[in-house]
Amino acid sequence: MDRVAIIGVGQSAFVRGYPGSIRELAFEGFKEALEDAKISVSDIGASIVCSAPEYDKQRSPSGVFAEYLGLTPQPTFYLESLCSSTSMGLRMAYSLVKSGLHDVVAVLGFQKMSEISSAESQERMGRGADIQWESPFGTMMPAYYAMFAKAHMEKYGTTLEDMALVRVKSATYGQVNEKALFRKPVALESFSDPEHFMSGPVSSPLRVGDCCANADGSSCLIVASEEKARSFSQKPVWILGLGAASASVNMSGRDIFTGLAVARQAGEQAYKMAGIEPKDVDVAEVHDCFTISEILAYEDLGFAEPGEGKDLIKGKETYREGSIPVNVDGGLLSKGHPIGATGGSQIRTIVLELRGEAGEMQVKDPKIGLVHNIGGVGLYGTVSILGRE
């Protein structure tokens, strides 16, 4: 009786211009998770609030959320690892429950980004890199990932079209995910049409259509001990494996540019802890902040050999009916990427898939799901493996 489960998941719709404050935004994901878990606020022993700082006027949001959500006087604290904040929150919740300190923990992720311009946002996200030695050159997230795309294209012959195919797949599922920001289909041809916004240059070789967009959103996970999971939940989803790693923030400290070392390391740890292999994964959510990121993830997680990620997308193997469905909720590319809420949204999708409750996004009878969530440019990486009974 010492397993740890996820017994409730929730998220707000991911939108531009959320018409409320961050505490009100957090309430949306929290309410859905509590209703999903069929528990009340007094059942929660501690809360972990996750986001990337710099976007909010509010310092220390965990106190404000605890008050607004009725989570006082239980302990609450803030945790951040950029875009991987909520899955790092899951790791922390797991350890709080596993240690016996708490038997039910809420992981709340949020980000409200749309009050500032895209250029300002790029500057802030850019400061998640090395501000002393890199930011003075004028860096931003798309440019860093573009360097990985360039290196992958050069070494393995991955093409712009291969990357565009990732966006086309993403849009296929964005259309059926009612929480997604982008719900329209994307045609492959739009990437080769110079008049179409999708083909607009951002940072070579990446185009507008290769990049995910800022959004406002919140997510929430309710993590519980086996005993509490048994008493509260009909369909607990078990945490089978967790991996996490970090890498040099400055690109000068990186050994590879054709993959993310943190994803490989976190994946190996998670597979080992779960006692499974990549081929055992039935459905996955990967951190497709850019189209190239999804191709790198296929390879880093062992779904494809190095250099062969492009063959998975070309062969539609990562579609819902394929051999390894990936991001069948539209991924970051279609859902939008409210940084601190993203990991929780990915985990929510896998939990719903494993419970058979993913609606139009449902893959056939999955038993094991995987979540790959990256912070910064492969600065932080987490891989979480979940399973049903």
Binding site: Q132, A143, S203
Partner: protein, 144 residues
């Protein structure tokens, strides 16, 4: 009347916009001003660092010596930006890159006078100190 304590904020001259002003490796800026791009090395254990740093994590010593980045490296990867963060709009377009010098890799910008078609992964490049029109300092990668 006590004299105001002088703050050594030389690092504010680094790059188009510097986000740091005070660091123990501020001498990097004077050397850059004199046309030299410098890394440093731990005197105690020999670890080589770029970017330079004040402290060695390997042996925990803080006794470092400067060395000049010389010779040629290989272009590992790059990207040309068509969109810039706030404060860098006037520099567009510009390319960021990583060059491998063997002992260390260096992140920086590619010199703006190299035509796009001449930039190839694997090409030989050197590092050169560079003065920006604003008087700020950085370094760029030039053709070797």
């Amino acid at each position: 009347m006590s004299k105001k304590k002088e703050i050594d904020d030389r690092f504010k001259r680094f790059g188009t916009v510097s986000f740091t002003s005070v660091t123990k490796v501020n001498d990097f800026i004077d050397q850059l001003d004199q046309g030299k791009v410098m890394g440093n090395r731990c005197v105690e254990c020999g670890m080589v660092f770029f970017p330079p740093r004040a402290d060695c994590y390997k042996c925990l010593a803080s006794n470092m010596e400067w060395f000049e980045i010389k010779g040629t490296g290989k272009l590992v990867t790059y990207s040309k930006l068509k969109f810039a963060p706030v404060g860098f709009e006037d520099d567009l377009p510009y390319s960021i890159a990583v060059v491998d010098f063997g002992d260390c890799k260096i992140f920086g910008r590619i010199a703006s006078d190299i035509p796009d078609e001449d930039v190839q992964i694997g090409m030989a490049m050197k590092t050169a100190a560079n003065k920006l029109p604003s008087g700020q300092l950085n370094y760029v990668f030039t053709k070797a």
